[in-house]
């Protein structure tokens, strides 16, 4: 958890509730005009076993809006940058499409947008957050997998969830400090 910022947006995911329905993916497409075949968010499906002993699990993923984002560090133009509230952004005007950030991201969360000719990825719907709304994927999710909130605000529901439940983050060893929290 981040130390002492005034605001720090994070997402808590309860993957057990994910039914792989793709509502979040389509809502993101609609909200952010993501081109066909490209995704700002996705669902990792794992299936294993032999009939009839089978298992499947679903983990939604997107940009982790890391504490120490390697994408920002490697960007030669400063196009990849981090807001004070933790949201990692790409400034379109400054992006030269060199794709260093895509290589640097341990989560494969970035893609080159052929339509805008710049690197693209999840922004936590910063434009919605700035209006006081939640990201489109969070709002639309039928099974309420996603909780978005301010980790610096003790009243935020993300706070209560992380206090009350065990959780993990993906690839903590990279040192990036990912801010998508998966409840166990």
């Amino acid at each position: 958890m981040p130390k002492n910022p005034t605001r720090r947006y994070i997402m808590v995911l309860d993957s057990r509730k994910c039914i792989d329905c793709k509502a979040c993916v389509v809502a993101c497409k609609a909200e952010n005009r993501v081109p066909l075949g490209r995704f700002r968010n996705w669902i990792n499906a794992e299936r294993e076993g032999a009939f009839p002993r089978l298992r499947a699990s679903f983990d939604p993923e997107q940009c982790h809006h890391c504490e120490n984002p390697s994408c920002v560090r490697v960007c030669p133009t400063g196009a990849s940058w981090q807001r004070e509230d933790g949201i990692v952004m790409v400034r379109e005007a400054d992006c030269i499409g060199c794709k260093y950030c895509m290589v640097a991201c341990p989560y494969g969360a970035r893609f080159f947008n052929e339509e805008t000719k710049v690197v693209d990825k999840c922004t936590f719907c910063a434009h919605r957050v700035d209006r006081g709304e939640v990201p489109a994927c969070v709002e639309t999710c039928p099974s309420r997998v996603r909780t978005f909130g301010d980790a610096a605000d003790p009243k935020s529901p993300v706070h209560a969830l992380l206090e009350g439940r065990r959780y993990r983050v993906l690839k903590p060893q990279t040192g990036n400090g990912p801010q998508l929290y998966y409840l166990l």
Binding site: D14, R16, K17, I19, D20, C21, K22, A23, V25, V26, A27, K29, A30, E31, L36, G37, R47, G49, A50, F51, P52, L54, R55, A56, S57, F58, V129, G132, E133, V134, A136, V138, E139, T140, C141, P142, S143, R144, R146, T147, F148, G149, D150, K155, S156, P157
Partner: protein
């Protein structure tokens, strides 16, 4: 009656988790008589029958985004992938943009764009010719659920045709009839508060239904209800269940009867409830005596000790245990009786009208627009439903028996077919037969938003405005959390399209039926809004899109004077009405035919992004399912030398298709499965035209004996590598 609005409920929990970063939710949480109007234009989704409430964000006359409207308790403040993709229907380049008249042979694809006047004149002339030659009963009017369906149906009735054919006999007629015969009504299931849920043949996490899908997640994941699931396929629902049994298809009734047998023989039923409210318990006890778990194990393949344990656990959860009814019940020829067994199992544990049990639906009051009535049709129905299926709903008809009769020309010829919002070539089993039926028609008119396969074979195509481009009647959504919703126009039609009411009026005018359609949509909804349980109903609906009740109300029918709407006034475990109609008064099990060697039972199902054939062409949904394939158990596939990605030929007595194979562990060895919505004939559905295969080509004609509901799991297919 409790008439507080849903808004209090929003404050009480439910959506609170996501509301903190979202002031417009917070402001509503305070409650009070009228909440502030939401952002966006409220309307009601049309991508499936759930009618979820939506807020449309419009910029420069274009719908930019659809967001869930949290004011509707039934849609639980969410919008699924289908609902989110609806914008793409409006701006779909494949959409129908103006009326069309066929210029070449049927199916040849030569169309002449015409004015609305010409389309109306042409269709009305052809309908008049049919009426003069064969009488009004020579016309068939078929449609699928929709808010404007009423206008289409009314046109058929005003025209004098008895042959109004709706979708239930392809979908849920048998389950509805079974619960009606037992309880006098079709209840909802309180999955949010249930403690023990058994689901069979309802893949609720992939075929999303509100609020059941959301509540099951809430009930199972948050409140730790136990969840037992039966399905020949390992679905997402199976992956979330505590126990999944790949039951032998068609044997669910054996499982249920064995549960009843255990519960009764161990006296675990709710004796007080059974004594007071049910009829025929003694006969039932006698009827299930031989239905032991050991017997059921032989039928279902589920171990007897598990059946016995599940029966005990179910009964011990008492009124918080439910055997969920599901929705689509077009499976087997004994489907009605299987659903009856379910209903009876639910009844004997006393879960009727209790929290966490089955709850009779409540409704939000709504007014009616009074229009000029027409004469009843003189002829009887061509499907002879009153004779063949006396208990079934004559106003909905029975699709497959009807098609048989029309093909034979019995009892009279039907030569014109009007179709609204329906694609019989893909929705009805045995596409070849449906095509023959179409070929036998002198005239076919289709109202749709896209060039479906059926439209492709029509004579005239009337392009309807998209749901975001029109205002529809107010619709009541009955349930535990009942609501009334308005679907109001969000943007102007972008092409030369019209709502169904105006299409009906255009035809009515030329058929001399104008008097019956002498009103506007505004007059219609004004009359409906007058009785809504809010001040200034219409204004309220336009601002909020929905009126709903806040809290469930349990137990209204559990009082001494209540009479169930059955012959005896009680819950009929034993049904005299069925006996009189020549059917088993108690559900009698007959083992289903099993596929002969070298053949597989074809089973159907859905995916969350692809529930209806109409959705397959939407790019945002299509990109998750670019092509359908044939699921085949990996062991069987290896035996046949088939690997994932190989092209296979699948054939039944109805037809043959080719598609790619998927060798998977996630299906029983005796079944195959393919997703619905592919292999379209219409080249104007570019994403799915000739991509994959259509299940309707393979499915054979079979129906449930009591309800006439299509039986779509009775087809055995042969699979060979091409």
């Amino acid at each position: 009656m409790d008439r507080r609005l849903f808004l209090q409920m929003v404050g009480a929990g439910g959506l609170a988790a996501t509301s903190v970063a979202c002031p417009r939710f917070l402001s509503k949480a305070k409650g009070g008589p009228e909440p502030p109007a939401p952002f966006g234009i409220p309307t009601s989704c049309e991508l499936c029958p759930n009618k979820c409430s939506v807020l449309a964000m419009v910029e420069d006359g274009r719908v930019r985004k659809l967001n869930p409207n949290p004011e509707n308790p039934k849609s639980r403040g969410m919008l699924c992938a289908r609902g989110n993709a609806a914008i793409q229907q409006v701006y779909d380049p494949d959409r129908l943009k103006q009326p069309l008249i066929r210029a070449g042979a049927r199916g040849e694809g030569k169309w002449r764009p015409v004015s609305w006047d010409e389309a109306f004149d042409y269709a009305a002339a052809r309908l008049r010719v049919t009426r003069d030659k064969y009488g009004p009963e020579g016309t068939l009017w078929s449609s699928t659920e929709g808010f404007q369906e009423v206008f289409f149906k009314n046109l058929g009735m005003a025209f004098g045709s008895p042959n109004i054919l709706r979708h239930p006999s392809l979908c849920l007629a048998s389950v509805n009839l079974a619960y009606s015969v037992t309880f006098g009504t079709v209840p909802s299931f309180d999955l949010l508060n249930a403690k023990y849920v058994i689901m069979a043949g309802a893949n609720r996490f992939e075929s999303i239904i509100t609020p059941d899908t959301m509540d099951l997640i809430g009930g199972v994941m948050e409140r730790k209800a136990k969840f037992v699931y039966l399905d020949p396929r390992f679905t997402v629902t199976a992956s979330k269940a505590d126990e999944w049994y790949p039951i032998r298809p068609g044997t669910d009734m054996a499982f249920i009867l064995a549960m009843i047998q255990v519960i009764i023989s161990e006296e675990r039923h709710d004796k007080v409830f059974v004594d007071q409210w049910t009829l025929g318990f003694e006969q039932l006890a006698e009827h299930v005596k031989g239905c032991t778990p050991e017997w059921a194990e032989g039928e279902t393949g589920i171990p007897a000790r598990d059946i016995r344990r599940i029966a005990r656990e179910f009964a011990d959860a008492g009124h918080r245990a439910v055997f969920y009814a599901g929705r689509r019940s077009s499976w087997y020829q004994n489907d009605f009786q299987m659903r009856r067994a379910q209903a009876i199992l639910n009844a004997i544990v006393g879960n009727w009208d209790r929290e966490g049990g089955m709850v009779p639906n409540r409704k939000v009051a709504k007014g009616e627009f009074l229009f000029l009535p027409w004469d009843d049709p003189k002829a009887s129905r061509v499907d002879e439903i009153e004779k063949a299926f006396p208990l079934a709903s004559a106003k909905d008809g029975a699709y497959l028996p009807l098609r048989e009769n029309v093909l034979k020309g019995k009892p009279y010829p039907v030569k014109a077919w009007m179709i609204y919002k329906q694609d019989p070539l893909n929705a009805v089993p045995d596409q070849g037969k449906t095509l023959r039926m179409m070929e036998g028609m002198d005239f076919i008119g289709v109202v749709d938003i896209a060039m479906s396969d059926t439209a492709w074979y029509a004579d005239v195509v009337f392009p309807e405005s998209h749901y975001l481009e029109r205002t529809d009647p107010i619709e009541v959504m009955p349930g535990i959390w009942p609501a009334a919703v308005l679907r109001q126009q969000v943007v102007k039609p972008i092409h030369d399209t019209r709502p169904c009411l105006e299409i009906a009026q255009g035809l009515a005018k030329r058929l001399g039926l104008s008097d019956y359609f002498d009103y506007t949509i505004d007059q219609w909804i004004e009359a409906e809004a007058k009785e809504l349980p809010v001040e200034n109903g219409l204004e309220y609906m336009k601002k909020h899109g929905v009126v709903a009740f806040s809290e469930p109300k349990y137990g209204t029918t559990r009082n001494a004077v209540y009479r169930f709407v059955t012959k005896s006034g009680k819950i009929e475990l034993f049904s005299e009405r069925l006996q009189e109609a020549g059917h088993d008064p108690l559900p009698a099990y007959a083992a289903p035919a099993q596929p002969p060697a070298g053949r597989y039972r074809m089973i159907l199902g859905r995916k969350a992004t692809m529930t209806h054939a109409a959705l397959a062409n939407l790019p945002w949904l299509h990109e998750h399912n670019p092509e359908n394939d044939l699921w085949l158990n990996a062991g069987e596939a290896a035996r046949l030398g088939i690997r994932t990605g190989d092209l296979v030929e699948v054939s039944s007595t109805a037809g043959t298709v080719r598609l790619k194979a998927r060798a998977t562990e996630e299906i029983r060895p005796d079944c195959v499965f393919m997703l619905h919505g592919f292999g379209k004939k219409s080249p104007w559905l570019r994403s799915v035209h000739n991509v994959g295969a259509a299940d309707a080509v393979l499915l054979e004609t079979a129906w449930d004996k009591v309800s006439g509901n299509a039986a779509m799991h009775e087809t055995f297919v042969k699979v060979v590598k091409v």
